[in-house]
Every structure is written in C-alpha cells, then in structure tokens.
C-alpha cells in the first residue's frame, strides 16, 4: 500500500507535465483540427531555453521560464503562418508539414546545444516533505501548483475573454465563425502560440525532473499526445485527467517493467485508442479530423 501510494505520487508530478503537453495538443486540435507533430520538439526547445537562461545567464528560474515561453510562442506563430495555406483543406499534408518543422527544430537543437544532454538542479532547495510516511519532493509540489495555475488561466481565457470565445467558435464551426466576422487565421495563430507556450512551460518544468537532452521532447510529446487522447482529444479537463493517468501508468510501468516501460505504455495507449478513440471526455467538437 505504502509502495503503491509512493508510486502514484512519483507519477503525479510527471503527470502534471504530461497534462501541460496534452493541453497544448488539445488547444491546437480543438481550434483547427490539427495534431501538431512538432509539439514534442517545441517542448525540447523550451526545456533547453529555460535551462540555458537559468544556468548560464543566471536568471531566476521563473524569469528564465518566461523568456522560454515567449521565444517558443514565436516559433508557434511561425509554424502556423507557414502552414496557413493548408488550413481546413488537407489535414494529412498539414500533419506532414508539422513533422517537417519537427525535423528542422530537432536539427537546430543539436546545432545550438549539441547532442549531449545536461542535468538541471532543482530551483527550490529543501528536504522532501514527509507525510504519513510518504516522501514528497518540494519541487513536485511546485510543478503541480504551476500546472494547476496554467490550466485555470487557460480555462478562464477560453471562457471569459472575447478572444477565447472566438477561438471556441472557430473550434465548433470555422465557416460560421468566419461568417460572423471572426478572423479564423488569427484565432488559429493564437492557438498555436499558446500551445507552444504551454509546451515550453512543460519543458522548463520537466528540466529538473528529467535529464534535458535532444530526445526529451520526443518521449514527452508522444506521452502528452497519449494523455490528450485518453482524456478525449480536444477536451481541456480530459487533457488534465489523461496527463495524470499517463503519469501514474508510466510510474507503475517503470516500477514493474524497468527498461520496457516505454513499450508497455505504448501498447496500452494503442489498446485504448482501439477500444475508445474518443477518450473519456470526448467532445462533439473533436469530430473534425
């Protein structure tokens, strides 16, 4: 029981990161019906940017993160702008286009930061908290708090602001949205920008948890995608629940299958897609693909 609880706790902080990655995927998908295959690479870029500013320029961790988010936001805007001619026309081609961007980003990462990885020390000092015999790292709590805050802000943005409401409208029917005067391209651009920012947030937060290397985003991206699907692709609460679930699944798989944990995670993920492609919180707006 003690071990099980400890495994769950170990999985939750990574799960929160997966949830952030999944939120980025879902936000872009619900707005424009596209899966951004470069999302994982954007996570890596975010992780490297945040760690570089934190370690080399000695910026405070929070500020380093802000800079990373701003830079990746611009990357998101560029991707969207280049692929805009294909929007709402050919999703398979657009998907391949995002893979092309992923290839480019991957090479840029290696060019700028090299092929070897780096370890990032935890930005919060302090011994792990002992609670009912369970050890909880303080940094895990920080990750959870930031992820929760980001989710709340995103939900507020989507539901309370005019721009967010416009994005919801585009998600439901882009033609009708155009008819009432919403600039669909701008709406998509914002979705991409916010999505990329979330990716950078996830990458920056995961730096002290995992080893930052060029392959970091690949694994995080595909697990974040699995999380998004598990929760119901395009659904915001689904992304959060899915992320935490995949984090815990991951933690159990790592405990039981050691090196094969990735294999197990992907097989489970495939089985889930086959059984229930719409996920737990599948929404009607996800029927677009």
């Amino acid at each position: 029981m003690q071990v099980t609880l400890q495994t769950i706790i170990g999985g939750i902080s990574l799960g929160a990161v997966y949830a952030l990655v999944a939120l980025g995927f879902s936000l872009v998908y619900r707005t424009m019906g596209l899966v951004n295959f470069a999302h994982g690479n954007v996570v890596t870029v975010g992780a490297y940017l945040a760690s570089t500013f934190y370690l080399s320029t000695k910026l405070p961790f929070a500020l380093a993160m802000m800079v990373a988010i701003a830079v990746t936001g611009v990357i998101g805007l560029v991707i969207e702008r280049v692929l805009r001619p294909l929007e709402n026309k050919d999703f398979d081609l657009m998907l391949i286009g995002t893979i092309g961007f992923g290839i480019v980003l991957d090479a840029l990462i290696i060019m700028i930061w090299g092929a070897t990885g780096r370890a990032v020390p935890s930005p919060v000092a302090g011994a792990p908290i002992e609670l009912f015999g369970l050890r909880i790292r303080t940094y895990d709590l920080v990750v959870l708090a930031i992820a929760a805050l980001a989710t709340v802000l995103l939900v507020l943005f989507l539901s309370r602001t005019k721009r967010g409401a416009a994005m919801q409208a585009v998600a439901m029917d882009h033609e009708a949205a155009t008819a009432v005067g919403i600039h669909v391209g701008r709406s998509n651009a914002i979705a991409f920008m916010v999505g990329a920012g979330l990716a950078a947030l996830a990458g920056g937060l995961v730096g002290p948890l995992l080893y930052v290397s060029p392959t970091l985003g690949g694994a995080l991206g595909i697990k974040g995608f699995a999380a998004a699907i598990l929760g119901g692709f395009g659904s915001i609460p689904g992304a959060v629940v899915g992320g935490l679930a995949i984090g815990v699944l991951d933690s159990f798989a790592a405990g039981h299958f050691q090196g094969y944990s990735e294999l197990v995670t992907f097989l489970v993920f495939t089985a889930i897609i086959m059984i229930r492609p719409t996920g737990v919180f599948g929404e009607r707006t996800v029927n677009r693909a």
Binding site: L34, V35, F37, V82, L83, P85, L86, D90, F91, D92, L93, M94, L95, I96, G97, I99, G100, F101, G102, I103, V104, L105, D106, A107, L108, I110, M111, G218, A219, I222, F225, A226, I229, Q258, G259, Y260, E262, L263, F266, L267, F269, T270, I273, M274, P277, A289
Partner: protein, 591 residues
C-alpha cells in the same frame, strides 16, 4: 509505349553497367540507396496510394533486419530460410500494427504507428536476444552457388533484381484494380465503400504491402551490412524516409524512388554536416507540402498541363438511351420497416416505413431536415438504424456494411458529390465497374495475367459507359476541374456502372439548369427502363411530378403522405408541411 520500353531497357542497361564505374565506397552507398528506395516504395504504397498514415515503416524494416539477424546468429538457420521467415514475421507484425487503422485514421493512426515504432526500438535496445544497445554483429553473408555475395559489387546485382521486381510489382498494383480501389479509398473512403470497395480489407492490404517491402528491405540490409543496431531503425530514419516520400511525391512510386535517391545523395554529400542536411530536408518537406503537394513527381504533369491548355476543350455529348429491358413487376425490392434513427437528442427518423416495387421510380420529398438523406444513409448502410429493419432484394440487410450492400446490387449518389478527386473520370467509373474481390488479390502474385486481362476488359466497358453518358471526351480528366453539371453526370454514370438493381439518387438535380434537368429526367427514365429500380430525393417538384410513379413525403422524420404525385400534392398535411417551411425559410419555395 515503344518509347517507354526503350527507356526502361536503357535504364536497365545503365543500372547493369553502373558498378564498373564505381569505387568500393560508392557501391556501398548505392547499395544502401536501393534499400531506402525499396522502403520508400512500401511507404508510398501505404501512405500515398492507400492514404494510410504509416509512421512505422522503419520499424517494419527493423523487424525484417533483426529477425534475419536473430534467426541466423542465434538459431543458426541458413540465410535464405531465415530471410523467408523474417519476411513472414514482418508481415505478421505489419498486420498487427495496421489493425488500429480499422478504427482510426489520419492523425490518430500516425501517432499510434509512431508509438508502436518507438515501442519496437525500446524493445530491441533492452532485449537480450536482440543484443541490446550493441546490436547483433557477424550475420553470415547470404550464399548463392558460384556467387560470392559478401562482395558488395555482386550484392548490388541481387539488390537490383529484387528492387526491379518489387518496383514493377508495385506499379502493377497501382495501375490495376487493387491500386485503383486503394486510391479511391484514399480520396473518399465513404464513397469507395458505397461502390463496393472493402475498406477494412483494403486498409489491411496497405499495411501488408508496406510490411512486405519493409521486410524485404530489412533482409537485404542484414545481408549487406551484416550488423544491426537500434539506431538504424529509429525515428530519425523514419522521418528521413518520410522526407524522401514527400519530396519525391507520395502518390507516385517512381516519385518515391526519385525522392529516396535524391535525398540520400544530398545527405551523403553533406555527410560532414549532418545537422545542416537535416535542417535542409526538413525545410524542403515543409515547402513541398505547402507549395507542391505532389512533390517532384508532380512537376512533369504540371508542365504538360501548361503546354496542353491551348488544346480544344472537351464537350459533353448527349446521353444515349438504353434499350428497354425488363419491365416492372409486382415484386418488392426494398422494404423499410419502422426504422428509427436517433442522434443523441435528435430524432432524425421516427418510425419510417415504405416499400418500393421493382422497376418503380420513387420520389422522396420533404422540407430540409426532414430526414431524407438520413434515410438514404440507413438504406445504404452508412448509418446503423436505432431500431427497425431494412430489407433489400428479399433479404434482411439491416446493419450490413455499405460494400456488401453495393455488391448485393445497391448503388447511390451523394448530395454533395463524392467523386474521387485524384482519379480520372474513367478511373472513377472503373472503381464502380470492378466487382472483383480484394481477397482475390493473390492473383497479383500467382496469376498476374488474369489481372491484366480483367483490367483490359474493364477499360473497354468503362469506355462504353462513358460513351453512353456522353462523357467520353472527359475520360482522362480530373473530375475536380469539370463544371458542376458534368460532375453530377459523372457521379450518376459511376453509380450505374456498378450495375445496381436499386439506384438511390440524392438530389440529382441540385445545381443543374433547366436543360440539364430535362436531360436528367430522360436519363433516369432510361436507366429505369433498362431494369433498374430508382429512388430519388429531390426538391425540384417539376421533375418529381414528371418522373416519379409514386412519391413518399417526409416531414420531421416521419412519413406524412404517400401516393401518386397528384394525390400527394393535394394532401393537406403535405401542403401544411411545405407552407410552414416556406414561411420559415423563404428560399425553399424557389428551389
């Protein structure tokens, strides 16, 4: 044709003489290029031809190579026996990886196949039997009596022969029935299913083909390099392969091969700067999808298109009526019995019953949103009814898949036109004419001459159909480029080409001008006279009054009247339904 044969023969001679001009490193590069070209052909078949986003091609390659390595070094089998087993194993894995395609498509399929490819690398890096991160070395060279295949020069000829056969087979598949049906499925899987294409089976066939090519490439790789390690089969190579196929032109196998050769050579030239090479080809992939989605292979047709634009425009010829065939009988061909269809809260069909006699022309009318198209979708198997039964030709056909219904003699057109955009008009008709089964595809391997003979016969039949519908001059054109009225006629010709007993037409007159509507009426009557029962949904009341023997009126998902056009037009409930509609949606009256 002669020129083509000469070109192929010339290329063959050049390929045969190539090793004499190359040093030992260059021949190694060429040997690796041929392997990538094989992989690209396999990926092109799955992704470009059949539209199945397959990001596990490099894993199929890995399974083939690793299986050969394990079977020869660990189990001590001979190379050739191991090779055959390896290909069988790859095909089994390929079919397993393809099963999600039965449920999901596009992005979902892409990420699932990518995940399974990652799972494969994860397995080989950790598994004892696969040698872990170090991989497996000292794979024995394949043996042929009298030929030393450990020489890369001689191995080249083995690869060349395998590759030539594989490419020829791939091209043969693409240009005949199986490939045509896969391309139709890629363009519009709903319409392909409604014309008798066994969509699930075709998707699996796509993965079968991709895995055979992957397995063969893997075996050759194991025989050539005689060493396998996880990084050769990782995501980086998958994306390189994808780049080859996209840049070359995914819909053309020759394009895929060109892309593989070009990209590998460029990468080889930049081998001192691999990251620059990667940035370069990634950027080219992005540019290609945005500006030239058909890739390198799309350039020659585009140039030809520019030159030909001055030629004489094709003209629509008049429809040539059928000889009157079987006359009507009292037999009932279609029975819809108390069908209900519910979408969440919305009752689209509520207790709809009707029966259509053989040889009848039945009209189905009703205000917008009254459930007419839903009814067609239930009859043709696209929707499962929530309750009730559909009987066709005396057999219960509720919940039968569209392709089975099509093969049982049901054919339909679609309200919003669902022509296969990247197929020519002739090929659109050919998809419908071709009633051969996908399960008979063994003929491609064992009796290709049967396939060829059948295809030649079908082409003659297709030309006859096009001639009858006055479309002969458009045979080689892409339907997307044609005027709307002609596209409508192509869709009807395609539906009739399936030789149905029952033809469902969904708003065939929508968007047609007066003269075209008159021609349509003539066409439908003649099709009926040839022995086909017709049910049509139509808003053009003039056409319905003139054409239909009986009319069924739907409103709010219920049948509110049925009878002769004159009788129905005088029914108070019908007038009320239509007038109510007129007041809410004034455009309805003008249709």
């Amino acid at each position: 044709m002669r020129i083509k044969i000469a070109v192929v023969a010339g290329l063959g001679v050049l390929a045969w003489l190539l090793p004499y001009t190359l040093d030992s490193y260059a021949i190694h590069v060429v040997n690796v290029i041929i392997i990538f070209a094989l992989l690209a052909v396999g990926l092109g078949l799955a992704m470009g031809v059949a539209g199945q986003v397959n990001l596990a091609q490099v894993a199929f390659f890995g399974v083939g190579a690793y299986a050969t390595a394990i079977l020869t070094t660990r189990a001590g089998l001979g190379f050739w026996f191991a090779a055959v087993l390896a290909i069988v194993i790859t095909v089994v894995i390929g079919l397993l990886v393809g099963t999600p395609a039965l449920r999901v498509q596009s992005h979902y399929l892409g990420i699932v196949t990518l995940g399974l490819a990652l799972a494969f690398t994860n397995w080989v890096t950790n598994s004892q039997i696969a040698g872990g991160a170090e991989g497996i070395s000292a794979i024995p060279a394949p043996e042929l009596p009298g030929i030393d295949l450990s020489s890369e020069y001689l191995f080249y000829y083995l690869e060349l022969i395998v590759f030539a056969l594989a490419l020829a087979f791939g091209l043969f598949v693409v240009r005949t029935g199986l490939g045509r049906r896969m391309r139709a499925m890629r363009d519009d899987s709903l319409a392909a299913g409604a014309l008798g294409a066994e969509v699930p089976l075709l998707r699996m066939t796509a993965f079968l083909l991709a895995s055979v090519y992957g397995g063969v490439a893997g075996v050759l790789y194991a025989g050539l390099i005689r060493f396998v390690a996880p990084e050769s089969f990782g995501i980086a190579n998958m994306f390189l392969l994808l780049g080859m196929v996209i840049i070359g032109g995914r819909q053309s196998l020759i394009g895929c091969v060109t892309g593989a050769v070009a990209l590998y050579l460029v990468r080889e030239l930049l081998s001192d700067h691999p990251t620059y090479a990667q940035i370069g080809y990634g950027a080219v992939v992005v540019l290609v999808v945005v500006f030239a989605p058909t890739g390198l292979a799309g350039i020659p047709p585009r140039l030809r298109g520019l030159r030909r634009s001055t030629g004489e425009a094709a003209r629509l010829q008049p429809f040539q009526p059928y000889e009157a065939g079987a006359s009507g009988s009292d037999e009932v061909i279609l029975i819809v019995d108390a069908v209900k269809k519910q979408f969440r809260g919305l009752k689209a069909l509520d207790d709809v019953s009707l029966s259509v006699a053989t040889g009848e022309i039945r009209g189905i009318v009703g205000p917008n949103g009254s459930g007419k198209t839903t009814l067609f979708n239930v009859i043709s198997g696209l929707y499962k009814p929530t309750a009730g039964r559909v009987e066709f030709g005396g057999r219960d056909m509720t919940n039968v898949t569209p392709y089975r219904l099509s093969r049982a003699g049901l054919s339909r057109t679609f309200q919003n036109l669902r022509l296969f955009g990247d197929l020519t008009v002739r090929e659109n008709v050919l998809v419908a004419l071709d009633r051969s089964r996908t399960l008979d595809s063994w003929q491609y391997v064992l009796a290709p001459w049967l396939v060829r003979a059948r295809d030649r016969r079908l082409r003659a039949e297709a030309d006859a159909v096009l001639e009858r519908f006055g479309l002969a001059e458009f045979a080689g054109q892409a339907p997307k480029a044609l005027p709307y009225g002609i596209q409508r006629r192509v869709e009807i010709a395609r539906a009739v080409a399936a030789r149905p007993r029952l033809l469902l037409l969904d708003e065939p007159a929508a968007g047609l001008n007066g003269e075209e509507v008159r021609q349509l009426g003539e066409m439908v009557r003649s099709i009926r006279d040839s022995g086909v029962t017709v049910v049509l949904i139509e808003h053009n009341m003039g056409l319905v009054m003139a054409l239909c023997e009986r009319v069924t009126v739907l409103a709010g998902g219920r049948v509110i009247a049925e009878g002769t056009p004159a009788h129905v037009a005088a029914t108070p409930a019908v007038i009320e339904a239509y007038l109510g509609d007129v007041m809410e949606i004034p455009t309805e009256a003008t249709r």
